[in-house]
């Protein structure tokens, strides 16, 4: 753990030096590319602002994750349990992916307003698909031997779903949730770009327009901090939830 953190810190320090080196070598003016020190200064000056907008974006991402996982899970279970639902819902699910979610952003803002609702909806839409499809795939691919065993043990359909198919599908669902965690911030930020009065996406546009590139970079750093924290805490939680699942390099965690 400490070694991993050390490695991470080394990489970050090297990248920051590379960044500074590019500035020294090319002599770009700070309104195009500010140096790391300027960005640190901006973070120090504007930390209240960053905290305020960051917490709004974080809230949108978390709500989106929660709702997306909820709807995705429920859809997958419905499709796995009811045959008619599978016939009707699956084409809709696939078709919904032919519309780029980003193209929907202006519509969502029009319908749900400039507040958080449209951003949460955006994040939910982005998260829904990977969770629903991976979980459904997992539910469909239960080892037939396990199902045979459950049938000879006189299990009802519901009990077989609860005790066999759902736990067997959890590792698949977990990798869907990992993908979702990685894309969730995109949904929220794109929503904020299209129209909002708060959030890191709004702050970035605002700073960009005023040539406050150092603030833009500070917002970017805050966003990636949020994304990384969400991803890794979910990753740890999902590993706890499926302890029987060996690490297969789905996530970026090194084998223990």
């Amino acid at each position: 753990m400490i070694r991993r953190l050390l490695r991470l810190a080394t990489v970050v320090v090297c990248l920051i030096f590379l960044w500074q080196a590019i500035i020294w070598a090319s002599g770009v003016p700070p309104y195009i590319l500010p140096g790391p020190l300027a960005v640190f200064d901006a973070i120090g000056d504007k930390w209240r602002l960053l905290l305020m907008h960051g917490s709004i974006t974080l809230f949108e991402i978390l709500c989106g994750l929660l709702l997306g996982c909820l709807f995705g899970g429920v859809s997958a279970l419905t499709m796995a349990y009811f045959r008619p639902a599978r016939r009707w819902l699956l084409p809709v699910l696939v078709m919904s992916q032919s519309v780029p979610v980003f193209a929907l952003a202006p519509l969502l803002v029009l319908w749900l307003g400039y507040g958080m609702a449209s951003k949460i909806a955006m994040a939910t839409l982005i998260i829904y698909f990977p969770v629903a499809t991976t979980f459904y795939d997992g539910l469909r691919r239960t080892d037939p031997g396990w199902m045979d065993l459950a049938r000879t043990m006189d299990a009802s359909r519901w009990m077989a779903l609860r005790h066999v198919r759902i736990p067997a599908a959890l590792p698949a669902a977990a990798s869907g949730i990992r993908v979702a965690a990685a894309v969730a911030p995109i949904g929220a930020v794109v929503g904020e770009w299209v129209g909002s009065s708060a959030g890191l996406g709004y702050l970035m546009l605002h700073a960009n327009a005023r040539m406050q590139i150092d603030v833009l970079f500070a917002a970017l750093a805050t966003l990636s901090l949020i994304s990384i924290t969400i991803y890794f805490s979910l990753d740890v939680a999902l590993h706890r939830l499926t302890p029987w699942q060996p690490d297969k390099g789905v996530s970026t965690r090194p084998p223990r």
Partner: protein, 267 residues
């Protein structure tokens, strides 16, 4: 047959032993008849081992007996005829338990929870006598020290022992086994055979195997299934009580003859 069956507490656990009767059982795979109008009785308390060339339909016969061939599924297997218990002419549901070649342990359940799987799949609570039975079985198969570990920590032989305990926990009068010991090494296989033979005394067992020696050690009857449509050849009844010694000259001689006969033919 998946049915809601919460009221009957695992009917098979009643003390009445039962055999199996096949009445005009036919199995078709696509357009070829695997088994036509098979009528057989497997007597109460006998252990029958089924041998036969691969592809003859042994496993499919077991699936038909277990009621696992779903008439509504889209597979091209059709089954007709009936499978009854010998006393009472009832369907086998609830009187039969199943042990497969793969241990089919659930990786997310501990060994103890795996053994109690039937109880939780029927939506029952594991009560005092029930969990005591689990502890006895854990001891009997030598896994009491591993009761709370997940199966991926166990060796192949231990996993199959856990699967055996899970089968025994069902406590049914009929046990169907499909090559249960073929995935373990020779020594472990002998131990598992002794264990199974001891614990399943008095029950009606049908076991498919590829190993003539295993069949001759364990079976009261050894039946060879051959032909298309497949039919049983006359039963071979090895002398003495199972589990028989692998050193017995009679058994070894019979093994030789069985091997020659199985080698000699295709399906």
């Amino acid at each position: 047959m998946i049915t809601e069956n919460n009221t009957t507490q695992n009917p098979g656990s009643s003390t009445i032993m039962r055999g199996i009767r096949l009445a005009d059982l036919s199995l078709r795979l696509g357009s070829s008849d695997l088994i036509t109008d098979m009528s057989e009785t497997f007597d109460v308390g006998t252990w029958t081992c089924i041998l036969g060339p691969s592809g003859v339909g042994k496993s499919l016969l077991l699936r038909a007996i277990l009621g696992l061939i779903d008439p509504h599924s889209h597979s091209d297997i059709t089954v007709s005829g009936n499978v009854y218990t010998t006393n009472g002419n009832e369907p086998l549901t609830g009187y039969v338990s199943y042990m497969a070649q793969q241990d089919l342990l659930f990786p997310w359940l501990t060994v103890r929870q795996n053994i109690e799987l039937g109880t939780s799949l029927r939506g029952q609570q594991s009560c005092g006598a029930d969990s005591q039975k689990t502890e006895e079985l854990l001891k009997a198969v030598g896994l009491d020290a591993y009761a709370d570990t997940l199966p991926d920590r166990l060796s192949g032989g231990m996993r199959q022992r856990a699967a055996l305990a899970r089968t025994l926990k069902e406590n049914t009068p009929i046990v169907i086994m499909d090559e249960p010991f073929s995935a373990v090494d020779a020594i472990t296989r002998l131990r598992l055979q002794d264990m199974a033979s001891e614990f399943l005394t008095g029950r009606t067992v049908i076991m498919v195997t590829h190993d003539p020696l295993e069949a001759l050690r364990l079976g009261h009857n050894v039946r060879v299934l051959r032909g298309r449509p497949a039919a049983f050849e006359p039963a071979i009844a090895p002398p003495a009580c199972p589990p028989r010694s692998v050193e017995s000259p009679d058994i070894l001689e019979m093994q030789g003859r069985l091997l020659t006969s199985l080698q000699g033919s295709g399906i």
